[in-house]
Structures are given as C-alpha cells and as structure tokens.
C-alpha cells in the first residue's frame, strides 16, 4: 500500500481453544472501524464475518492471526491459521455443514454457518487451505 494514501494495518493474535478470549480480535476490529468513522452497516458486516472467521480459528486451529487493512476504499480482513485445513472447501461452504466438535456447539458456535455467513457479508472472499497446514481466508469489504 502506498504511503501517501491514508491506510492502516493491524494484526491480532488468536489462540486455538481459548474460548475466554474468543471474539476479542473482532471486537478490536469493530472498534477501530468505528473510530475511523466507517459506515455502520459495513462495520456490522465486517464484525459478523470477522467474528465467524476468528471463531473458526478458536474452534479448529492451533493458532492464527486476524489482520485488518483499511483505507478509504476498502477494508480487508485476512484470517490466517495453523490448523487442520479444510478438506473440501465447496462442502464447507454448504450451509449447515460443520466439523465443529460437539463440545463447542452448545456455546452457539459450529452451527455450520461460518463460511456461508462470511461470504454473504463480504464483497469478495478467497479461501486457501492446505490439509494439516492451515487455512487463509481473505475478505474484502468495499468501504463506500
């Protein structure tokens, strides 16, 4: 990103299995977007998508990062984890499909709506995943 353009970059760590802190990164992202005065509707979409992605890391992966890049045009969220990877992305995109262990379902997570939700909230979404290595999800939100 060009230095002369107003832009910001934040990186938050997410630990797998740490349900106590789950959602912290998304809350920070939300607050930052509120502070720069992003549109409320967009903030909400980012908050939902980012939270879903963050929860995926907490539920499935060992460790990961939520990265926020924003400028006047775009908000980009990249969630990168070291974890089991997604075996069949197309299947994972099916609403209701979930591999979340039952122990986390009663907390209201792992309902199988994570990826479809992220996709419907963002303007663009890319998923890269390698089995037993990890998953990277990149979501772009038009800041207009």
């Amino acid at each position: 990103m060009n230095d002369t353009v107003a832009s910001l970059h934040f990186k938050f760590e997410v630990n797998g299995g740490d349900f106590a802190k789950a959602g912290d990164a998304s809350s920070r992202v939300k607050k930052i977007l509120q502070q720069i005065g992003a549109d409320q509707a967009i903030i909400r979409r980012v908050a939902i998508a980012c939270y879903e992605a963050e929860m995926n890391v907490v539920i499935h992966a060992r460790h990961g990062f939520v990265v926020l890049d924003a400028d006047l045009e775009k908000i980009i969220i990249v969630v990168d984890d070291e974890g089991p990877g997604i075996e069949d992305i197309e299947l994972a995109m099916t609403p209701g499909y979930s591999t979340a262990p039952d122990s986390v379902r009663e907390m209201g997570f792992g309902a199988g709506m994570g990826l479809p939700n992220m996709k419907s909230c963002s303007n663009e979404m890319e998923i890269h995943s390698r089995r037993d290595v990890g998953t990277t999800i990149r979501m772009v939100f038009e800041n207009a």
Binding site: S7, L8, Q35, I36, G37, Q40, I48
Partner: protein, 470 residues
C-alpha cells in the same frame, strides 16, 4: 477541555467536586469510558455518559450525585400527578398492599396517581402483539431501560433498529396522565405537574431529554429515596389511607413485576426471550446481537442495573430483598388486572405507545469526520499504544492505555500523562544532565576517565525498573 465536545445532552449524573479524591474507581467501571481524572478530579465526558449510575454506585467517596427534582417543586403546580415506578412497591415490608402505597402518595402532596405498573400491563400486551407479528429484525430489544437505549445510541448504533418500536411503561403512564388531565377541556398545561417517582438517574435524563418522542409529557422525576420516608410514615398508621384504597387503580402483579429482572419477560410471556441485567452483561449480549448470534431469540429484556429497576441507585432497600418482594407481589396478584374498561380503551390508543420520531445514533468513537484524517489519527494512536506500558493502571486518569492514546490524538492529553512515560523521560533527562555535568573544560583534566565512570553508573540508573510486560 473534555467538555468541549459536549453536544448538550441532558445528564442527571454529576460530580461533587469537593468530595472527589481523584481515585480511579469510577473510570475503571464506566461502561462507556466516559470518565477521566484531570487535576485530581473526575470529569464526565458528557457525550459518552449514558446515565447508568454505575459510577454513583462505585464511588467510595460518594462524590457522584444525581440531579433530580424534589418534592418542594410540587407547590409550583395546581394539580400534581404521581407516576410511581413499580420498584416503589418493593421498598416496603412484605405484605404491604400496593394500593396503600398509592394512597400514601396521595396523602403526601399528590392529587392523582397513575400506576406505572398498570401502564406496564398494557405495554406487555402491546409487546406481545409485536412479537407475534412476523418481523425481519430479531431479536428485538426492550425500550424500558433508558440507560440501555443510550448505550445502544453511543456504543451500538448498529442496533438501533433492534429497539422495539414501543414506548416504555413510564411513557405510556404519562400518556394516560396526559389523556386524563391535560387533554380535558379547560385544562391548563402549566398548572399540571406530572412526576415520575424514579429508581434511577437514567429515567431522570430520559425525562429531560427524551428519545423517540418529540416532547416529554412528564414534568420531572423525584427519587424513590426522597418519597420513601414520607410514605413509610403514612404506612405506619394506615387508618387514614386505608379509606382511600378502594378508589385506587393498581396494576396487576405482572405489571409490578417489571421492577425486577425477568419480570418483563414473565409479563409478556413466550419462550424465545432472554433477560439480562447489569450494564456489563448487557454489553456482552449486545455484542452477540451485533455478531448475529442471537437471531433465534425474539426479545431481550435488558436492564442496566443488576436485578432490574429495584437495583437502581435512587432506591432505598437492598435490591435482593426488594426483588423477592416484587416476585411475591407478581405471583400473588398475577391475574388481578383491574378496570378492564380503561385497558381496552387504552389498547385502542396506539398513540400512547408509539415513538413519534426515530431514535438517533450518538456515535462518539469517531476520531475525525474526515475518514482520511481519522485513519491517520488511528495510525498515530496505535504507535502511541505500542509505546505505552500496557498496564492499564489508570494513573494517567484514563481507564486504560488505549483510551489515553485516543485522548492524545484527540489533543486532550499528552503521552507524558503516563506515569511510566514520565518516569522514563525524567530518567533520560537525568542521564543527559549527568553527561552535561561531565562537560567540564578540558583544562580541568581527567575528563575521559571520569566520564567513563559516570556513564557506567548512568547506564545502571537509566533502568531502575524492569520493562513492564506488554
């Protein structure tokens, strides 16, 4: 200086300067980070304050106060109408007939009384109607607690559309009062005082600065704590008031139940509802709503005070005791709805329950109106945060390092307000002075050797403390 951003909202929570010792209890507990300590005194950032009363509750020096109306104002009006909050009933001994409490109000200076619990009965029916209609927005959030409404305006502007389009029982009661005493031919508005008997500062503010309606019908709010001793006196020898009891209209037990957490849901009935109390718990729930996590819930009863209205800071009795009393009243008189005629006519009056203007967001987080500037400030803020110790100690007067950084970029504080930064800087300066002190004229000799020695000492002293963990 912080007040410069004030947009002139009315607030009932204020600081008693001479009592404030500048401790940081309030800044740590404030749910909207609306308090800073400056020059040894707490300052409330008015735009952010939601009048939840959390600081009043937590101040060890009783330096926070609530500006409300007093009984003495009754003499300014020819006719005075009391609107007692259901929480009033919980203040008196178990077994006290609510009607006697209303009668006591009539004998301490009020001419009429409209039971807010009765209005709550009607609002509960109206809410049920709304919940039964298929609607897109879920969950809906109760409009009964003004502090929660302000919290949503300030911190969750996204969720304004979730607030149920329905006035609170207090407002509905006020509209009944208006119908009975102001809309009658020959009534003179300036001669009628309508007074809410309030458990909390939130209601005081809501009355003086209404949300969702053009004009407040209510003249003012008198704390429960002020009428309590007067009513108790009357209840002690109740022969005088017992005679009046039969003429009084009182809400059902379920209406009274609104005073405690869970009572509103109980009155409305239904299963996909949750009740949350305590402002910090409310924040957690709203976060979840914002993330779309509670869309299988129809209705959220949310109250800023733990235990509900009985936990308000302007009440008298311990909230656990009052909660029990309210619960007993709710179960004893659950079906005891009086004067069905008024209820049915009231339920036809849609206007009594409707907002007549939208609730506006009051976002206070934006660093600048120009997003490019805001982004730059954000970057700058992050650099400052990285440089701060991250202890969130509060000694700078801001609740945490993040908030201090924000104050700095807003031009309301400097990094040197941080104890640790200041100490670092002082040590640095001390080191420089040492070096300067060594700069004696070469003619005086031993320069290099001395400087070496001193420098070594200086290095030790520049790190008097281990770096605090980030």
């Amino acid at each position: 200086m912080l007040d410069a951003v004030d947009k002139g909202y009315f607030h009932s929570v204020h600081l008693l300067e001479d009592k404030c010792k500048g401790c940081v209890n309030c800044i740590k507990r404030c749910p909207t980070e609306a308090i800073r300590v400056r020059d040894g005194k707490a300052h409330i950032i008015e735009v952010r304050c939601i009048d939840c009363g959390e600081c009043v509750r937590n101040c060890p020096n009783k330096a926070k106060t609530v500006l409300a109306d007093s009984m003495t104002r009754l003499k300014d009006y020819k006719i005075n109408v009391a609107l007692p909050a259901p929480a009033v009933y919980g203040q008196f001994r178990e077994g006290t007939d609510p009607r006697k409490v209303l009668a006591a109000l009539l004998s301490i200076g009020f001419d009429h009384v409209i039971d807010v619990a009765f209005a709550a009965d009607m609002v509960a029916r109206k809410v049920r109607e709304v919940l039964e209609r298929p609607m897109e927005v879920r969950p809906l959030i109760s409009s009964a607690c003004p502090a929660v409404i302000r919290l949503i305006q300030v911190r969750f502007p996204n969720l304004i559309e979730h607030i149920i389009p329905m006035l609170s029982p207090m407002r509905a009661a006020a509209n009944i009062a208006k119908h009975e005493f102001l809309d009658k031919p020959g009534a003179q508005a300036d001669q009628v005082g309508i007074w809410f008997i309030t458990p909390c500062p939130g209601k005081v503010s809501a009355i003086n600065d209404p949300e969702g309606i053009e004009e407040s019908t209510i003249t003012g709010a008198i704390p429960i704590a002020e009428v309590y001793p007067l009513i108790r006196e009357k209840l002690r020898d109740d022969t005088a008031i017992s005679a009046m009891v039969d003429k009084l209209k009182v809400g059902s037990g379920l209406g009274v139940g609104w005073a405690r957490s869970g009572g509103e849901n109980q009155a409305i009935g239904g299963s996909r509802q949750i009740a949350v109390d305590g402002i910090h718990n409310v924040i957690q729930i709203l976060e979840e709503v914002e993330r779309g996590k509670l869309s299988d819930i129809d209705y959220i009863e949310a109250q800023a005070c733990v235990g509900g209205c009985v936990g308000g800071v302007l009440t008298v009795e311990n909230s656990f005791i009052t909660r029990r009393r309210i619960r007993l009243l709710a179960s004893e008189n659950a079906d005891d709805v009086q004067h069905d005629d008024l209820i049915s006519s009231a339920l036809e009056c849609e206007d009594w329950f409707r907002h007549d203007k939208p609730i506006e967001p009051r976002p206070t987080l934006k660093l600048d109106d120009d997003m490019a500037v805001a982004i730059r400030k954000m970057e700058q803020m992050e650099r400052i945060v990285e440089d701060l110790p991250g202890l969130d100690c509060g000694s700078c007067g801001a609740p945490n390092c993040q908030a201090l950084a924000e104050d700095v970029v807003r031009g309301l504080a400097t990094e040197m307000d941080c104890m640790f930064k200041l100490r670092e800087r002082v040590t640095e300066l001390a080191g420089e002075m040492m070096l300067l002190a060594e700069k004696v004229p070469p003619a005086m000799g031993h320069v290099e050797k001395k400087a070496e020695e001193k420098h070594a000492v200086g290095e030790h002293s520049t790190k008097p403390e281990p770096e605090p963990d980030k």
